[in-house]
């Protein structure tokens, strides 16, 4: 590959200035998407601007709520005890990404900005109602993650903006979560995935969240599926109904990794499995 101009600014301001002054330049964080695409013959950017030298972007704060640095590596995030304990579904999802080698380079921000339908961190973050903090010449703005994805490979981030952090609120009291990912072999991107969150009170589902990956142009919440369960006990009939709705709610395509029908089917199976598994966790406590 011919060499490409490469910049490694150490401040946000410098990064944004470089981006503004270099038309056609692209940010690079871990490079695990960018470099693969470049080698695959994707259009070459005019320059690469690394975000790994900017302390504000690699730092995370995790306590009651979490602010995760966009350029923190997945491995670094997984090493934060409070994150694993407070938001286990995010840890699960990140743990199922790629391989240890890739995780030590890949970043959470890169996973979201790449805007692949299969981005594993997205469904988990959607279950927690995460927000993204963007920074541009005009300053900061905050978007719900649901609003962030526009279409495959495209976000609603402006060309002059970058992703600073991912903000997550404290989990609902009593929230139980799980992440299920269908892949061909251990190291694979998802053919279909489901992240789920459930709170039950007196046998009734009082808070329900489902999000799915690889079954629509962008990672998506499944509001109709959630509604089918919310306010009800998770009876066989309810679960069957939720499963049916989930299969309809997604809009997968057939590609080399799997057929649309199969993906729908998996979403249904995973919605059912997730619901049963999470509901079972409330059984002893009531």
């Amino acid at each position: 590959m011919h060499p490409l101009p490469y910049h490694r600014p150490t401040s946000l301001e410098a990064a944004l200035e470089l981006k503004a002054s270099l038309p056609g330049a692209r940010f690079i964080a871990g490079g695990t998407d960018v470099m693969v695409r470049l080698k695959g013959g994707a259009p070459r950017p005019s320059a690469l601007i690394s975000l790994r030298g900017i302390a504000e972007l690699t730092r995370s704060e995790v306590a009651q709520s979490a602010r995760l640095g966009a350029a923190a590596s997945v491995a670094d995030l997984l090493a934060i005890d409070a994150l694993r304990e407070g938001w286990p579904v995010l840890a699960d999802a990140m743990n199922q990404m790629a391989s240890p080698q890739i995780r030590s380079s890949a970043t959470l921000g890169g996973n979201l900005c790449n805007a692949a339908p299969c981005a594993d961190s997205a469904p988990a973050l959607l279950v927690h109602g995460a927000r993204v903090v963007l920074r541009g010449p005009q300053g900061e703005r905050v978007l719900a993650l649901e609003e962030f994805f526009a279409e495959p490979g495209v976000t609603r981030m402006g060309a002059d903006e970058l992703l600073m952090s991912i903000d997550v609120d404290p989990p609902e009291p009593g929230l139980q979560t799980t992440f299920l990912k269908k892949k061909r072999v251990a190291m694979d991107i998802a053919i279909a995935s489901v992240a789920a969150g459930l709170v039950m009170n007196d046998g009734i589902c009082t808070h329900v969240r489902f999000a799915a990956g690889s079954v629509a142009p962008v990672p998506m919440r499944l509001p109709a599926t959630e509604a089918a369960l919310c306010g009800h006990p998770p009876t066989d009939a309810r679960i069957a109904e939720a499963r049916r709705i989930a299969e309809e709610e997604v809009s997968p395509i057939t590609d080399i990794r799997g057929g649309a029908d199969y993906r729908r089917r998996i979403i249904g199976v995973y919605v059912e499995r997730a619901t049963r598994a999470l509901a079972a966790r409330f059984e002893g406590s009531e």
Binding site: R184, I256, Y262, V269
Partner: protein, 797 residues
């Protein structure tokens, strides 16, 4: 024997573990240029115009070649392929032009700048459609220019014995079906590449990633002749290989292209594929469809086997087109079957052309055969293991193909596999889970496979003045451990320590001829040659000892007396004449076999130096040996002939669990029992077998080169999935049955390929046992399995 059956550190271990081994991707020559190839963008098209002018103007470009400005170089055993295509392209990866430049990026840029104008032609991608009347012809003329009327390749493999129709009519039970296997990639860790360089006399050296250095030399010499370089020679040097798996059985267009570029530029030229190119431009394993029917009588004795194979060869013929030569083995000789029909059609299509891979047709055929056998067992109401035992091959039998089976441990393999799987309790158990067990067996050539006039291996053995042994073999170390086997057998057979055995780099200018490292033959033939050479070499040493031993002992005694005047005299009169056969050589010490007196031991190096520098004419200790196994080149039209000196047998068993909601298959356990004749190096044997099992698991469950109208859709590891350590994370019980094969070196049989042969049918059979559905086309993906499960449930309701 001291070293047979042990695992001394392999000679290449340290270099490979520390990154010092030199693979073709590491190789550099002074002044070397880099080649890049321009491939076709159509599956079938006439080439109307090639414009290389833009490419030629790019700074750093040293040559741009096409069929127009280079001599025609034909290749392939059918001579149906051209290094640079002329007139038309027949597959997506056809080589149209090539560039040599001062660096790989410039070369790639220039190759992309070549403009090609095509006229697309109707193409055919399905071998059955290719055989239909009026199908587009992939080759409309043969290599001699005579018109061709069909896409059938002019290659025939058949076998008919007994009366299949009569036997079928008389059978109590019959099962039949059709099975198919996909195109798969060999996925060598080291990708393909070569360097070609002419010396000032226009002799050629090629550093080639090959398994057949001597046949490659012949091929390259043929190319030199076609280029008008008469009476010139090609020398082939083999660097460290990161796996071969059959990809090195043929010479390839990229090699001839680097030769043409080197010839044009007068510089060494390297062509090196990266992973994407390896996937897109190197030939994968053939896909095949096998129709199979078998029958048995009331007692489960097989009555007949009817096999018809259609093999999609793609656009050109490679040695892989001769897969049916090995398919004949299981078709005629796995289990005892009296009446057999075997026929095959090898078809040209506009798909990527295929080549050899480990197992060479055997996994394809065995998948059908062993799947079908389970169906027959079910039909007949006989336990599937029992059915196999009833029809088991036995030692000292001659099979319908004329294979002379001397040793055969198949019965033990079957019994051991059943025991290790807890077959009697687990098979067919309605335990409420979707778990099941399955098994399948194999027969493979164990004593090389004669598909060429000579099936021989040579060896040259030489002692230097210090008693180090230098061994030159034409066999290729490609990671499988051949050099370790040679060390072990040399150490025991000659009598030197394994780390005193140095194995020379494979090079046609210094090594003796060898037909190639394929057919699981490397260790079998090279070690047999080595054993012949060992006898000669020891004989030379002992004949020198007859003359020189007394004086050397005398010297040793003198020295000993100096150190210790009271040392007792040896109990043996070393001064008397000693016959050559009284000597022995062990661990680099020459001694008399009837005494263990340490002063009577002479260092081999000393003896050699004494012989070397002897007054009145010294000598050297170099011998050669040439071993051609006792086998026959079969008559392929009749499917008759004892193609190997011996045969390897084995059985594999698998326990699986199926997730009936998702179609996921989890392997809980595998057992593999292999009749290996004799274990040479247990660690390497385990490595070879487990590696093969992993390949078998990939074949069964994951791997497939996907194509759409001849274009490869998944030329990368993102979408071409092979098993990793995670997929192989289940208990594997390996057992080696030692039948001590008389033709084998110290009793050993070839084991390079067999480990993957029966894996896919064993898994398919286990899945059928678990959930009652059978997948007929590999790989058995969750999607296919789920669809089959749902179809079955719909049928039931």
């Amino acid at each position: 024997m001291t070293y047979m059956g042990t695992s001394p550190t392999r000679p290449d271990a340290a270099a490979k573990a520390t990154g010092r081994a030199e693979y073709i991707s590491d190789a550099v020559r002074p002044g070397m240029l880099h080649g890049a190839i321009r491939f076709s963008e159509h599956a079938h098209a006439r080439i109307l115009r090639i414009d290389t002018s833009k490419a030629e103007r790019i700074p750093g470009v040293r040559a741009v070649i096409t069929a127009e400005n280079t001599p025609e170089v034909r290749l392939g055993f059918l001579r149906d392929n051209l290094a640079l295509k002329k007139g038309k392209v027949r597959q997506f990866r056809d080589e149209i032009a090539a560039v040599a430049a001062i660096d790989p990026d410039i070369a790639a840029e220039a190759a992309a700048a070549i403009e090609v104008e095509y006229e697309p032609l109707p193409a055919v991608f399905d071998p059955i459609e290719a055989l239909a009347e009026g199908a587009p012809l992939v080759h409309d003329v043969d290599p001699r220019g005579r018109p061709v009327t069909s896409n059938l390749m002019p290659v025939h493999f058949r076998h008919f014995s007994g009366d299949v129709e009569k036997a079928r009519a008389a059978s109590a039970y019959v099962a039949e079906g059709e099975w198919s296997t996909p195109l798969i990639q060999q996925t060598c860790m080291g990708t393909a590449g070569c360097i070609a360089e002419f010396d000032p006399q226009m002799n050629l050296t090629v550093w080639a990633k090959t398994q057949i250095p001597f046949l490659a030399q012949r091929d390259f010499n043929g190319a030199l002749a076609q280029m008008g370089l008469r009476n010139k020679n090609a020398r082939v040097i083999v660097p460290a290989l990161g796996g071969g798996f059959g990809t090195g059985l043929d010479t390839h267009c990229y090699e001839y292209i680097s030769i043409l570029l080197a010839w044009k530029t007068g510089k060494p030229v390297k062509v090196q594929y990266n992973r994407d190119q390896e996937f897109a431009y190197l030939s994968p394993r053939q896909s095949a469809t096998v129709r199979m029917a078998q029958g048995c009588d009331r007692d489960g004795r097989l009555t007949f086997r009817h096999v018809h194979v259609v093999q999609d060869n793609g656009a050109y013929g490679s040695w892989g087109a001769t897969y049916p030569s090995v398919m004949l083995l299981p078709a005629t000789s796995l289990y005892r079957v009296p009446n057999i029909y075997f026929d095959c059609e090898l078809v040209y299509t506009n798909n990527t052309y295929a080549q050899a891979m480990r197992g060479y047709g055997n996994p394809e055929l065995t998948f059908a055969l062993e799947s079908n056998l389970d169906q027959l067992a079910e039909e007949a109401g006989i336990d599937a293991a029992q059915l196999r035992l009833i029809n088991c091959n036995e030692p000292n039998e001659v099979t319908p193909m004329g294979l002379k089976v001397a040793t055969c441990g198949l019965r033990e393999c079957l019994e051991q596999t059943a025991e290790r799987l807890d077959w009697d309790n687990k098979r067919g158990a309605p335990d409420g889970t979707a778990r099941g067990v399955g098994m399948a067996s194999l027969i493979h050539v164990g004593g090389s496979g004669r598909i060429y006039r000579s099936d021989a291996s040579g060896v040259i053995l030489r002692f230097d003045d210090w008693g180090n042994l230098y061994l030159s073999s034409g066999g290729v170390e490609m990671g499988q451990g051949l050099h370790s086997s040679l060390q072990i057998v040399a150490a025991d057979a000659i009598g030197v320590a394994p780390d005193r055995v140095f194995i020379n780099q494979t090079d046609t200018s210094t090594c003796p001829w060898d037909v190639g490292t394929h057919a699981s033959r490397g260790a079998f033939t090279a070690c047999n040659a080595l054993l012949m050479g060992a006898t000669k070499l020891r004989d030379k040493v002992f004949r020198a000892a007859v003359e020189l031993y007394p004086q050397l002992v005398e010297e040793a005694l003198r020295k000993q007396r100096k150190r210790d005047p009271d040392a007792p005299a040896p109990s043996f009169d070393w001064r008397s004449r000693i016959d050559a056969d009284a000597f022995d050589l062990r661990e680099g010490q020459v001694f008399l076999s009837n005494t263990d007196d340490p002063v009577l031991r002479v260092d081999l190096g000393k003896l050699i130096r004494a012989a070397h520098f002897r007054d009145g004419g010294g000598q050297m200790f170099t011998v050669e040996a040439f071993y051609d196994p006792p086998s026959e080149l079969p008559d392929w039209e009749q499917g008759q002939g004892n193609m190997s000196a011996c045969y390897t047998f084995g059985t594999q068993g698998v326990e699986v669990e199926v997730d009936t909601d998702t179609g996921d298959v989890r392997i809980l356990k595998m057992a593999a029992v292999l009749d290996v004749g004799k274990v040479i190096n247990p660690q390497i044997l385990r490595g070879q077998t487990i590696g093969a099992l992993a390949q078998g698991v990939g074949y069964a469950l994951y791997e497939e080169v996907k194509t759409e109208r001849g274009r490869i859709l998944n030329p990368n590891f993102t979408d071409y999935k092979i098993p990793t350590a995670v997929e192989m994370d289940f208990p594997i019980e390996l057992e080696f049955v030692e039948t001590d094969e008389p033709t084998g070196p110290y009793g050993a049989k070839g084991i390079g390929e067999p480990g993957l042969v029966p894996t896919a049918p064993a898994i398919a059979n286990a899945i059928a046992d678990a959930v009652g559905v059978r997948i007929h086309d590999l790989p058995i993906t969750p999607e296919k399995l789920l669809a089959a499960l749902r179809a079955k449930n719909e049928e039931a309701t």
